[in-house]
């Protein structure tokens, strides 16, 4: 155990993947011998949990997330909390109050976000039996996984309990796994999934099962968003895939619809989720005496929230307020249904769907902060649609910075596994 902790500590000053490094041994179980980290939006009792924000800089929760407990009980050893964009608001990992994370492939570049430390540490610690737990609302697992060239699963919404997950948007947040071994990703998912009686939206358990997969749909219009290089690498991979599967080239009509529907719904929910940070029971506090509540709350929140957080709170408040609610919030909900129905239509014909993950290679850290917010949001054009629909998706690294996104219908994670097995990405001796 000491070895991985020492290594992580030594590298952290440069790469900044961890906000907190701490060793907690696991009990005995099927994951004995493995080490894991949690994105810093997942609570661990007695361990500082910040969600990447200054307002929770010294917050120590009195309870643990279900994911943490399940992993410890299955034998895995905990090594720390990973860096993230504040409350999940970001696509590059540069919105953390604790500084950006550096990409192990090229330290001048971002790791992606918002599970920036999860993506980065999984690559950095690749020679250890290590996996990281991330969280995705609009693509925050797939994005850093693609930028750091690791495998990841963002499971169907409803498989993993969110008890102890500091919320971004509760109808969209999903807890997932990043690792250097594709099968390990599914093994861990099995362990962390399942109802726990504390999160009523967690309703099912995932169990690995052999599933035959033959029909593949490639979403051609998604490739148009990518740079030439990424397009070329991925197209070559598609050719390889065509040798083992029946491949159709189709369009997904509602990418733009999904993107803006997501930002409206996510910010509206986030603006209510973040209302609790007001300097009373937990987090940063000051002296409330002689101040009106509005004054006191506004001061604390103004002082300790980052700019992107403030931006999203304002947007989210607007879209659900009188006069805007029908036009934005309710319309976005309807569009969401439209996007889901479109996926359902496609999954009647195909076992899995393929697209790129990110349209660009990870930008340099100093350049990333110059990108305008609207353009940053546009980076999510390919990860948001499956996240909005809450369908499971897996990142398959193809080349440096270029990964393929493998999507399946709700609760059909085993189709993704079947696809990978037939493709030869997984050794079929696992069953």
């Amino acid at each position: 155990m000491k070895d991985i902790i020492e290594f992580a500590k030594a590298k952290n000053r440069k790469y900044n993947h961890f906000i907190t490094i701490k060793e907690i041994r696991g009990k005995k179980g099927s994951l004995s011998g493995y080490y894991f980290s949690l994105k810093d939006s997942l609570c661990v009792k007695g361990v500082r949990t910040t969600a990447g924000s200054r307002i929770l800089e010294n917050y120590v929760p009195p309870f643990s997330s279900t994911v943490f407990e399940k992993l410890i009980n299955s034998g895995a050893a905990f090594i720390g909390k990973t860096n993230m964009d504040e409350f999940g608001f970001g696509s590059f990992g540069i919105n953390s109050a604790f500084g950006p994370s550096r990409n192990p492939i090229d330290p001048e570049r971002v790791t992606g976000g918002s599970s920036s430390g999860a993506g980065g540490s999984t690559k950095l610690l690749e020679k250890y039996p290590y996996f990281s737990i991330g969280e995705s609302t609009g693509g925050s697992i797939a994005n850093p996984a693609a930028f750091c060239s690791v495998y990841s699963i963002t499971p169907t919404y409803g498989l993993v309990s969110r008890w102890g997950l500091i919320s971004y948007a509760d109808s969209l947040d999903k807890i997932g796994v990043l690792a250097n071994d594709p099968l390990l990703v599914f093994k861990v998912l099995e362990i962390i999934s399942g109802a726990d009686g504390k999160d009523p939206t967690c309703i099912r358990k995932f169990r690995i099962r052999k599933e035959k997969v033959s029909k593949v749909g490639v979403l051609t219009n998604t490739f148009e968003f990518c740079t030439e290089k990424i397009k070329n690498y991925l197209e070559r991979k598609i050719e390889e895939i065509s040798e083992s599967f029946k491949v159709d080239f189709i369009e997904f009509k509602f990418l733009e619809h999904a993107l803006w529907s997501y930002y409206i719904i996510a910010t509206s929910e986030a603006s209510t989720n973040l209302a609790r940070y007001c300097g009373l029971i937990f987090g940063k506090t000051e002296n409330p005496k002689a101040k009106s509540f509005l004054e006191y709350f506004s001061e604390i929140r103004g002082k300790y929230f980052g700019l992107e957080t403030k931006r999203r709170i304002i947007i989210g408040t607007i879209v659900r307020s009188k006069g805007f609610r029908n036009k934005y919030y309710l319309k976005a909900q309807m569009v969401r249904r439209l996007v889901i129905e479109e996926y359902k239509k496609l999954f009647k014909r195909y076992d899995v769907l393929l697209s790129p993950v990110m349209p660009i290679i990870p930008p340099k850290i100093k350049d990333a902060s110059k990108i305008r917010p609207i353009d940053t949001y546009r980076m999510d054009i390919l990860t948001v649609p499956p996240n909005l629909a809450c369908i499971p998706h897996f990142t398959l690294p193809v080349r440096k910075y270029s990964s393929l996104l493998v999507m399946a219908d709700h609760f059909q994670e085993n189709k993704i596994l079947g696809f990978l097995e037939r493709l030869g990405e997984i050794d079929d001796s696992w069953s």
Partner: protein
């Protein structure tokens, strides 16, 4: 006057609406708390099945239609008594709608969570800070909104008294533990609505509404415009005061509550709610009438005064339902109410002694009524086993009132007078019929 009410009542569940903390407002401050009702990051709500059933029971009591598929929403606003700075409530789709109760139409019935309790060192306006107790945070509330059908104070009183009584009977509201509060919407014909918030008792509600109607009438007479506003009732000053409101306070930015599933109100839940309604006074009265055929007024008294077990006990001994009903529904109820006591506090052994004594004619009914009063005030009942020599009582009386002997033979009324005097002498412990018999014997033998 045109008045509508919005009533919030705490429900008598064991745990809070969205967490397993004890539902006990009387506990020491900040002892019934957990991450959920504190709104700690990472916590999320979980709906109490019992609260849902109680909510359905309330909706059925008010003869509402039920929405068979419900969900919750977030009502967002900032205030120190709201741990999450939003309240989980039902906005778009209430549990029940379009009902009626005591002639007042019910607009909607829904569930929501109670905020925390704020305590002030001085008055709310003067205090430089507040103190927050989260015991109350998350306690289940049922909110009842009426149409503005109330025409006078009597209707309001009757409505609220009946509502609280019935909810208490079916067990979903415990007046010794749970509290309620009401907001009143008051307006004159064709006027703007003024909302008076947070009234916590029927008398203050009536006073506030009465004052407000008078205030509005006076403004109208003077030709002054009545603003749509919110006011509070100042008990000390005896008037309603405007609370300055900005437009944004009506701005709640409702969104669907994504941390909770939607709920189908299935037949099983409705069935459980209906079982609770069996305990309603009207249902209990019906059952007593069906089983015993006593007078309706007495059945009502027995049920409303919660004396059914007293009635059963009395009936078991006397085996005479009508007499038992009179005893319990009339005399026992009167004594208990007068002394402000509960049947639970009465010494059952003493009571049983008295009933048995009555049955065995050891005491007269008139004496029995006095005995009931004694038992209720805790004095107990001792049957003075003194043997009363009726004969010597009568003979002594006649000896000291010789003029009555002649009158006795001619006028029956004199006999009644003598009987009354003898009864007084023996503390009413002798059957008057026995006294008459003995007097008539003497008249005969004297002849």
């Amino acid at each position: 006057m045109i008045v509508g009410l919005e009533i919030h009542l705490q429900l008598n569940t064991k745990t809070k609406l969205f967490c397993s903390c004890p539902n006990d407002p009387t506990a020491p401050p900040n002892t019934n708390i957990c991450p959920i009702c504190l709104g700690l990051p990472g916590s999320r709500p979980s709906l109490n099945r019992k609260a849902l059933i109680y909510g359905i029971a309330c909706a059925l009591l008010l003869k509402c239609k039920l929405n068979r598929k419900i969900f919750f929403s977030r009502k967002a606003y900032f205030y120190p008594d709201l741990p999450k700075n939003f309240q989980i409530t039902q906005y778009e789709v209430p549990l029940g709608y379009e009902g009626i109760f005591k002639g007042i139409r019910i607009k909607r019935v829904h569930l929501e969570e109670d905020p925390a309790k704020l305590v002030y060192p001085k008055s709310m306006k003067e205090s430089e800070y507040c103190l927050i107790d989260y015991n109350r945070s998350g306690i289940p509330l049922v909110e009842i909104v009426t149409y503005p059908d109330f025409k006078n104070a009597e209707e309001i009183k009757k409505f609220l008294k009946s509502l609280l009584r019935d909810l208490s009977f079916i067990g979903i509201f415990d007046p010794t533990k749970n509290s309620w509060r009401a907001d009143a919407n008051v307006s004159l014909e064709k006027g703007y609505r003024v909302e008076i918030k947070n009234l916590g008792s029927i008398p203050s509600l009536i006073k506030a509404i009465t004052f407000e109607i008078a205030r509005q009438k006076m403004l109208k007479r003077r030709g002054i415009k009545i603003h749509r506003e919110t006011r509070i009732w100042d008990e000390k000053e005896g008037k309603t005061i405007a609370v300055r409101r900005k437009e944004m306070e009506e701005e709640y930015g409702y969104i669907l509550e994504p941390d909770l599933p939607f709920f189908e109100i299935k037949d099983e839940l409705i069935r459980k709610a209906k079982i609770l309604l069996k305990a309603l006074p009207e249902n209990r009265i019906k059952r007593i009438l069906e089983n015993y055929g006593i007078k309706e007024k007495l059945a009502e008294s027995i049920v409303y005064n919660k004396l059914e077990s007293a009635f059963q006990l009395t009936q078991r001994i006397l085996k005479d339902p009508n007499l038992s009903a009179i005893i319990v529904g009339n005399y026992l109820a009167k004594s208990l109410n007068y002394l402000k006591k509960d049947w639970k506090e009465i010494d059952k052994n003493e009571y049983i002694k008295a009933i048995k004594a009555l049955k065995e004619k050891k005491i007269t009914f008139r004496l029995f009524k006095e005995v009931i009063k004694d038992i209720c005030s805790g004095k107990g009942f001792t049957l003075k086993e003194k043997k009363i020599d009726v004969d010597s009582l009568i003979d002594n009386f006649i000896k000291s009132h010789p003029e009555l002997i002649e009158k006795m033979r001619k006028d029956r009324k004199v006999i009644n007078y003598i009987v009354g005097e003898i009864l007084k002498l023996c503390d009413y412990r002798v059957d008057p019929k026995l006294i008459i018999k003995k007097i008539e014997e003497r008249i005969r033998t004297h002849n």
